[in-house]
Chain length 248, copies 2
């Protein structure tokens, strides 16, 4: 069997079945595994497939979601960086949806090894591209607006969970009215998340400070930490610090 022939066979197999094992290929074509590895390396260099430990994956299989324009991106990146520092190896972390959470997902250091539990499709999408993170998706009916699972199934599943940390993408926050939101189902999920976590962290750009929405999520007293893009000493944050919340 000629080398090119072999390689085109490999390409066919990998595109056909999304994944191939070097062992299988070696047996099917009756050559040593070294030869297969050399082929795979060569083809990976030509961008024809993705080489992984033990075999190869099809290129077309790993589609990723196009990230559209995100409002106040830089602020959110800053918040994400601050939030990362709270996560330690081995933790169970709950996250909601929202663009700030997505930025957090992107900012996670590669060596971090933790379990992320989420209800957000885009967030889950980011997490699975991280090398050392275990992803648990709490499924149920998916809300088209917020792209998260909503409904009784999620809430009852959250009741059975005890997480170390919960990151809330924040819609509106105010000293007097606490956290508020505008979607009944999302609020239900957030409430359940808050109850399921030891520490509750709200990620909020300063623009959202001192705003309110129609539906209440929780009082400020339920929050452990508030993270914004500005310095914790900023005067904007004084009222929040006074409530006893840790402000980062």
């Amino acid at each position: 069997m000629l080398k090119k022939e072999r390689q085109s066979f490999i390409l066919r197999q990998v595109n056909l079945h999304n994944k191939v094992l070097s062992v299988d290929l070696s047996q099917e074509m009756d050559v040593s595994e070294d030869t297969i590895r050399r082929d795979l390396n060569e083809m990976a260099q030509q961008d024809k497939l993705i080489k992984v430990h033990g075999g190869a994956l099809s290129k077309s299989f790993h589609l990723s979601i196009a990230s559209d324009h995100v409002y106040a991106l830089n602020s959110k990146k800053l918040i994400a960086m601050k939030a990362c520092r709270l996560i330690k190896d081995g933790m169970f972390v709950l996250t909601t949806g929202g663009t700030t959470i997505i930025e957090l997902a992107k900012a996670l250091p590669p060596e971090l090894s933790a379990t992320f539990i989420t209800v957000s499709l885009p967030a889950a999408y980011e997490y699975i591209h991280h090398p050392n993170i275990e992803v648990i998706f709490l499924g149920d009916r998916i809300s088209k607006n917020s792209q998260i699972s909503i409904g009784g199934g999620v809430v009852s599943k959250l009741n059975g969970i005890k997480a170390d940390l919960c990151f809330l993408g924040t819609n509106a926050i105010d000293v007097k009215h606490g956290l508020t939101d505008n979607d009944w189902d999302v609020v239900e999920v957030k409430k359940a998340m808050i109850e399921a976590s030891d520490r509750v962290v709200s990620l909020s750009i300063t623009e959202k400070l001192n705003t309110t929405q129609r539906i209440k999520v929780c009082d400020l007293s339920k929050l452990t930490t508030l993270i914004t893009e500005v310095d914790p000493q900023d005067q904007l944050l004084i009222p929040y610090r006074e409530t006893g919340i840790e402000v980062l």
Copy 2:
């Protein structure tokens, strides 16, 4: 034997068998391998064939190696169109992951109003962009390779579901060995889906016909329908039709 004669013989052989070995040609025509090599070099320069170490490949053969982004995309689109016709308003539809399923998701007519239950992140992502489809995501641990939920949670949830239709993205299908796959967890999920559905539809490009993988999903008899990109009367499908499966 004249040079021209020899070369036209070579061309016939290479187009007939897609590949030729210099050794074989040399013996068949009783000339030295050097002569064959010189012939092959000459013909390669004239673009009549592709020369490789040890022999040559036909031009058309090499064209099929050219990598599209999503493998066999057109075939998958055709399959998706056929599959759409099975879905009626109000149905509960189960779907696995895989690129063919994504094509199905994209091909759904906008006025279709149904409930889709899935374990695949990319598929869920497509469904939520559809105006009239209710999306239910069955959550659990997310497999990074296949981008679907796997584990006992999914399986037990599936046990509590009765769907009208189940679309299986197919990895390998064979009359004798039935549906097979290469990932244990994925197989578990597929099995549960099959049990949870009145009708089970396998979506499979013809290239996957008569191939097998290591882990068995189910026998052909479990399938209600098989959809490929070719005409149902195609002779390739005869063995499948004979098992009693509906072939579209």
